[in-house]
Symmetry: none
Subunit: 188 residues, 4 copies
Amino acid sequence: MPKIIDHDEYRKELLCKSFECFAAKGYGQVTMRALAEHVGVSTGTLYHYFSSKEALFEQLVAFQADSDLMLAARLPDSENLQQRVHMLLKLLMENREYVFKQVCVWLDFGRQHGFDTLFKKEVVRQSYERYMRFLSQYLGISDKSSADFVCSYLTGLVSDPYIMQQKISVKKHSQLVAKAIADYSKYK
Amino acid sequence: MPKIIDHDEYRKELLCKSFECFAAKGYGQVTMRALAEHVGVSTGTLYHYFSSKEALFEQLVAFQADSDLMLAARLPDSENLQQRVHMLLKLLMENREYVFKQVCVWLDFGRQHGFDTLFKKEVVRQSYERYMRFLSQYLGISDKSSADFVCSYLTGLVSDPYIMQQKISVKKHSQLVAKAIADYSKYK
Amino acid sequence: MPKIIDHDEYRKELLCKSFECFAAKGYGQVTMRALAEHVGVSTGTLYHYFSSKEALFEQLVAFQADSDLMLAARLPDSENLQQRVHMLLKLLMENREYVFKQVCVWLDFGRQHGFDTLFKKEVVRQSYERYMRFLSQYLGISDKSSADFVCSYLTGLVSDPYIMQQKISVKKHSQLVAKAIADYSKYK
Amino acid sequence: MPKIIDHDEYRKELLCKSFECFAAKGYGQVTMRALAEHVGVSTGTLYHYFSSKEALFEQLVAFQADSDLMLAARLPDSENLQQRVHMLLKLLMENREYVFKQVCVWLDFGRQHGFDTLFKKEVVRQSYERYMRFLSQYLGISDKSSADFVCSYLTGLVSDPYIMQQKISVKKHSQLVAKAIADYSKYK
DNA sequence: CATGAATGAGCCTTCATTCAT
DNA sequence: AATGAATGAAGGCTCATTCAT
C-alpha cells in the first residue's frame, strides 16, 4: 500500500466509509473493530487518524453536514414554486436511503450529547441554520411558521421508515406543499 | 402477603420504568445494571422477568405501542376538521417530550432488526396500521396521498429535535394542514 | 463456589495472592488477566473488588505494610544488644525472599507515584515511620545517624540480589553492627 | 558529510539518552514511541540501531555498567581508611540521584531475566565482580564478611528512597564504617 | 422470588514492530 | 540512514448473563 499523500483527504475518506456503519447500527452498536474491517484498515490506523471513537463520530457528523450542501447545490432553479418543491422532493426521494441514514446518525449524535445542550454546539447550530436558510431561500418562504411547517413535513418524509418503504406520489405532494405555502398569506 | 400480586402487572411496571433509560441513552448505551438501578431492582430480578436485554427491549416497544392508543383516545371529537387537526397537534405538542422519546426508541428498534425487514414483524405492522387507521378516521382522510402527506408532516413534527426545542404556532399549523387536506380533491 | 461471607476478608486474600505477581514481574509487566489467573478468579471478579489495576496495587502496598508488623512482632526480646541484632538479622535472612519481594514492590510503587511526592502520601509516611520507630526501639538506638546507618545496612542486606544469592555469616554481621551502634557515643 | 560518523558512537548516545526514561518510569512503562520522542529520533531510527525494545534495554544496562567505572575512577587515593570511606560516601551522595536511578534500572533488569538466573549472565557477573573487587581494593578489605557488610550498607544507602530524600552525615557514617572495618579482626 | 457475586467474551485503546518511501 | 504510517496482538476494563444463596 503506498503511503498516503494527503492526511486530511484520507481522513475524510475514512469518515465517508464509516457513515454506513453508524447509520445502520447506531453509535453504541458499532465496534471499532467492525468499523475498521468495514472501512478496510486496521484498528491501529483508525486510531492514527482519530483520537477516539467519539472523536471519529463527531467528525463524521461535521463532515456529513458539509456533504449535504452538495446535495442541495444540485437543485436546478425555477420560476415556479411548485416546480421547485417538486424538484426538492424528487431529490430527497432519489436519495431517500442516504437522507434517512443521515437522520439516524444525527439522532444518535443528539442522544450522545443530550438534546438540550445540542444546539449550543457550533457545528450543530451552523448546520441547522444553513439548512433552514437554504430551504427558505429556495422555496421563497419568509415566514417562520410556514418554514417550520415545510421543515416538519420534510423531516417526516425522510424520517419515517414506513414511508421509506413505499413510493409516494411526488407530484401530488408537491401540489399540496406548494399550495400550503402560497395560501399562507390568508392566515396571518 | 406477597409483595407482587400479578406477575404480568409487575412486568409492565418494569417496562414502564425502563422506557426513560432506553429513550435517553439508546439501546446500546443502556446497561442492564444501570437499568436495574434506575428501575430499583437487582439485575437478577430483571432476568427473572425478561429472558434477555433484547427481549426486554422488544417487550418495551410492544408495550409502548399499546400505551399510545391511550394518548389518542383522549382526543375529543369535533365536527370541524381544522378543530380536529388543532386538537391533535395540541395533544402532540403537550406530550412532545414523550412522543419524541418514543421516536427514539422506535429508531433503535428499527436498527436492531434492520429497517428492511422491520415491517415483516407482526407487532410493527399492526402498530403502524393502527396508527394510520386512527389518523385517517379521525381526520376523515380517505385518500392515501393525503394520509401520507399528513403522516409525514406529523412524523417530522415529533422527530425533529430542532422543532422540539421551540414552540410552534399550533393554530397556524392547523390551518395549513386542514387546508391542505381539504384542497386535496382539486389535484386528483 | 460458595458465596463469599466477608467481602473485606476476601479482598485481602486476593491482595495476598497478588503479591507474588507484582513482586516477580513488576507493576507494568503484570496484566490483569495474568493476575486473575494466578489468583484463581476471573478478571471480572478482580474488578468487582478493585476499581482498577492501580487501586489494586495501592491497596496491596498498604496491606503489605500492615503484614510486616507481624513479622517484626515475632522477634523475641533480649537484654543483650548483639543478641537482638542477631535475631533481627536471622529473621530477615529466614524471610529474605519475602523481604526482597517487598522491596521490589515498594520500588515500583515509588516509581508509579514519583519518589519526590511519595512521602507526602499518608500510607507511605506512616509505614516508614513505623518501621524506623520499631528499629530504634528494638535496637535501642536514640541517635538519628546511627539509625540511618543501621537502616541503610539492612536495606542493602535485603535489596542486594547478589547477597540474596549467598549465605552471609549472621554472627559476624551481628557483631559488626552491634559494635558500630555501641561505639557511636565516641563520635558525637 | 554524513551526519553520523560512527555508528557505534551514535548507538551509545542513544543509550545514554534512554537511561533517564527507563530509570524514571520502569521498563514496562516506557514505550518505544515515548523513548524515541525523548531521545529525539523516530521509532524507525530506534529500530535501526536496536533490534527490539528488550535488546535496547539490555545494551543500556551493559553500557551503564561500563559508565560506572568512570565514577569510581574519580576517587582520589589516601593513606587513611576513614578518609577513603569518607570520599567514597561523598562521591555516592553527590551522585545519589544518578546512582539511585541505576539501582532502579538494575532492578528492572533483574526482574526481566529472573533474579535466580541473573548471575549466570556474563555481563551481570562481570559487573558485580568488578564492583566488589574495586570496593575491596579501595577500602583494603580482604575478608569476605567485611566486604559483604560494607557492600550491604552501601547498597542500602543508594537504594533506600527515604534516605535518598534527606541529607545524611557523611562524616559520622564514615567513622562508623571505618571503625567496623577496622574492628573486624577482633571477631574472627 | 430476589439478590448480587462471579464469569468471560468482547470493547476501546495502546504499543512493539514492520516497511514503503 | 531516517521516517512515520500501518498493523494487529494484547492490555485494561465493562457488561450481559448465570447461579448459589
